[in-house]
């Protein structure tokens, strides 16, 4: 394992890979600092550019971009009180008051170092779990992989929205869309309506673009956010202030370490995502402080805690994404779709056949987070100017590159029609609080689930559900539903 890890590190340290990583990090920082854009649109934006690339460089490029989005997402939160991305909202609570007190530089410095250290600890967490995951994955048979797909959808459905029912429907919708194309066992056409381009099924990238990009673009264009609008160029600060904030992270090293680990563990649980990680760690910072009354008025710990968690969760989230095909967050769900396009099929084979790719991605997480801190420190004096650019200017480019990504996925212009059709449904999902991540799990895991189901049925018949690991997975599925119902019942408003 150590040999593979070192070989992967050496593979990353080539001029080509480092250049890709630097470009990816710069784009990721840009997408983070512009309010409303975020990592999801970033991946969709970059898909055309990785088309035709080898799997590893493409994956490194996309992950480098995605892993640093939250590092710069905190900048508009601190300077203007507008979160660059959703999970950066927790940083506003203390970051913005710090800026108003004239300590914007200190808050920025703390953010940068906390994010960098969090990202590195997240990657370390992932690498420490690697030796244990391989044997677990290898113990799984087709029966367990089928049930794992069901578990993944149930898990995400229960955690990613306010209604389990809606989440399950969306997950099943994704599985249903995955049935389009030629049946793998009989070769018969299913739901192709005589269209040749549907014979290979609906391209996952096209589906992901329709489900995620279209609603986000409409929302972005409708809001046309600009962090600095109406607030001038933002507060002033010096590099000395920024360095003081960097040192604050080491002054609170215990909190930094604890929230990094909490964030990574939360990332490991599919469906929880960055919002939960950052708010939970913010809460932990308040609870563990001897002076909790300072929070909300400009406590530096209130900036450090959510920022470490934001970045460390990416390391944890990569594990279920890569080994089980169950994305740890909605961003990871889109990243997973892009990985499939690059030829990296998430699943157990990664543990055995492509361990070098997993190690390369772990190193990417580490190096990208360090690069992001270095770059942001270098450009710290000008960050407020970048954050005040109107993000609406990017809308037409995002639309064009999204459509280009869907075209390149299968080389068929008819995919544009699918993007619009799925986009309309997804817009309604977004508007009426239907979770969208379960759809991606459905469409990506659909072929694996179908193949596993047929194999399990042929080997054991219906008794495949009685295998020990299968029973354990069924118990987890039932427990997930039970816990969801119990939570809902507990939070129901009392009738007066």
């Amino acid at each position: 394992m150590i040999e593979t890890s070192i070989a992967s590190l050496l593979g990353i340290f080539t001029p080509h890979m480092m250049l890709l990583m630097i470009v990816g990090v710069c784009i990721g920082l840009f997408f983070g600092i512009m309010p409303g854009l975020g990592g999801k649109l970033g991946i969709i934006f970059l898909i055309p550019f990785v088309f035709g690339m080898d799997a590893l460089p493409g994956a490194v490029f996309l992950l480098a971009m995605h892993s640093v989005v939250h590092t710069s997402g905190a900048i508009p939160s601190i300077l203007f009180g507008i979160p660059g991305t959703g999970p950066d909202a927790a940083t506003i609570v203390d970051g913005y008051p710090l800026a108003q007190k004239g300590e914007a530089g200190r808050a920025l410095g703390a953010t940068l170092f906390a994010s960098g250290i969090g990202g590195v600890i997240g990657a370390l967490f992932l690498s420490l779990l690697m030796p244990f995951v391989g044997p677990i994955v290898l113990a799984f048979s087709p029966a367990e992989f089928f049930l794992l797909a069901v578990l993944g959808i149930t898990f995400i459905a229960a955690l990613s929205g306010d209604s389990l029912l809606k989440g399950l429907i969306v997950g099943l919708f994704g599985l249903m869309i995955a049935c389009v194309g030629l049946d793998p066992s009989t070769g018969q056409e299913r739901y192709t309506f005589g269209q040749l381009f549907l014979w290979d099924g609906i391209d996952p990238v096209t589906a992901v673009i329709g489900i995620f990009a279209v609603p986000e673009v409409i929302a972005l264009a409708a809001d046309n956010k600009s962090a600095g609008a109406g607030s001038g160029r933002g507060p002033r600060y010096t590099m000395l202030n920024v360095w003081e904030g960097c040192l604050d992270v080491f002054r609170h090293w215990g909190l930094t370490l604890r929230t990094s680990i909490i964030g990574a563990v939360i990332g490991l649980i599919p469906g929880l995502g960055g919002d939960v990680a950052s708010w939970l760690c913010y809460g932990h910072a308040v609870q563990s402080s001897k002076t909790p009354e300072r929070f909300g008025k400009g406590a530096i710990e209130g900036v450090i805690a959510p920022e470490t968690a934001n970045n460390s969760k990416e390391g944890g989230a990569l594990l279920p994404t890569l080994y089980f095909g169950i994305p740890g967050s909605s961003g990871m769900a889109i990243l997973m779709g892009a990985f499939v396009m690059l030829g990296i099929q998430p699943g157990p084979r990664l543990a055995t056949d492509q361990a070098n790719i997993v190690w390369a991605l772990i190193w990417t997480l580490t190096i990208a987070n360090i690069l992001a801190v270095v770059l942001l420190l270098a450009f710290a004096p000008w960050l407020s100017r970048v954050a005040s650019l109107p993000s609406g200017l990017l809308v037409p480019f995002v639309i064009v590159l999204s459509l280009l990504g869907s075209y390149l996925g299968a080389g068929a212009w008819q995919n544009f029609v699918l993007v619009i059709g799925l986009g309309v449904i997804a817009w309604l999902f977004k508007k009426y609080d239907w979770p969208r991540p379960p759809f991606v799990i459905g469409i990506v895991l659909g072929p694996i689930a179908e193949d596993s189901f047929h194999k399990a049925w042929d080997l054991w018949g219906l008794s495949f559900v009685l295998r020990p690991i299968s029973l354990a997975l069924i118990a987890v599925i039932i427990a997930t539903i039970f816990l969801y119902v119990a939570r809902k019942w507990r939070h129901q408003p009392a009738i007066a």
Binding site: F49, L175, C179, Q188, N224, P396, I399, W413, L428
Partner: protein, 142 residues
């Protein structure tokens, strides 16, 4: 009609169509569609009933705001322009038009935006050798 009922209704119809069509294909090929479609149909019907009961006590709201409708029309315009004229011409013209008309950029700014789009297409097509869609009209003409 309430948007909430509309979404549940769409999902019910989608699953009903998929389940109905599953009966027209070979039984072995229909296993997975039925395994997924039947629970999907049942759950969608349950959600539809829940939404219909909710609507009786909540106020209706428009599905698209005027601004969102305008963006959706622009999006459709992008798709139609690219299908007709391809990425090089259709996308470039629409990017410039969007920046000018929807964002309110000056004509020079819009032209620069269109130029950036064209340059991106050039890089993808000629430097990265990524095959771009030429558009149905241009495909038939040339």
């Amino acid at each position: 009609m309430s948007g909430r009922i509309l979404v549940s209704g769409i999902m019910t119809v989608v699953f009903a169509v998929f389940v109905g069509l599953a009966f027209t294909i070979h039984h072995e090929a229909a296993v997975m569609p039925l395994l997924v479609g039947v629970p999907g149909l049942v759950l969608s019907l349950v959600q539809l009933v829940i939404e219909m009961r909710k609507v009786a006590v909540t106020a209706d709201e428009p599905i698209f705001s005027p601004r969102e409708r305008s963006i959706a029309i622009w999006l459709l315009g992008f798709v139609l322009a690219i299908i007709a004229f391809g990425f090089d011409v259709g996308a470039t013209v629409l990017v410039a038009a969007y920046l000018w008309l929807a964002v309110g950029a000056r004509p020079l700014g819009a032209a620069i935006g269109g130029g950036l789009c064209l340059a991106t297409m050039y890089v993808l097509d000629h430097l990265l050798n990524i095959p771009l869609f030429q558009g149905l009209i241009f495909h038939h003409l040339f």
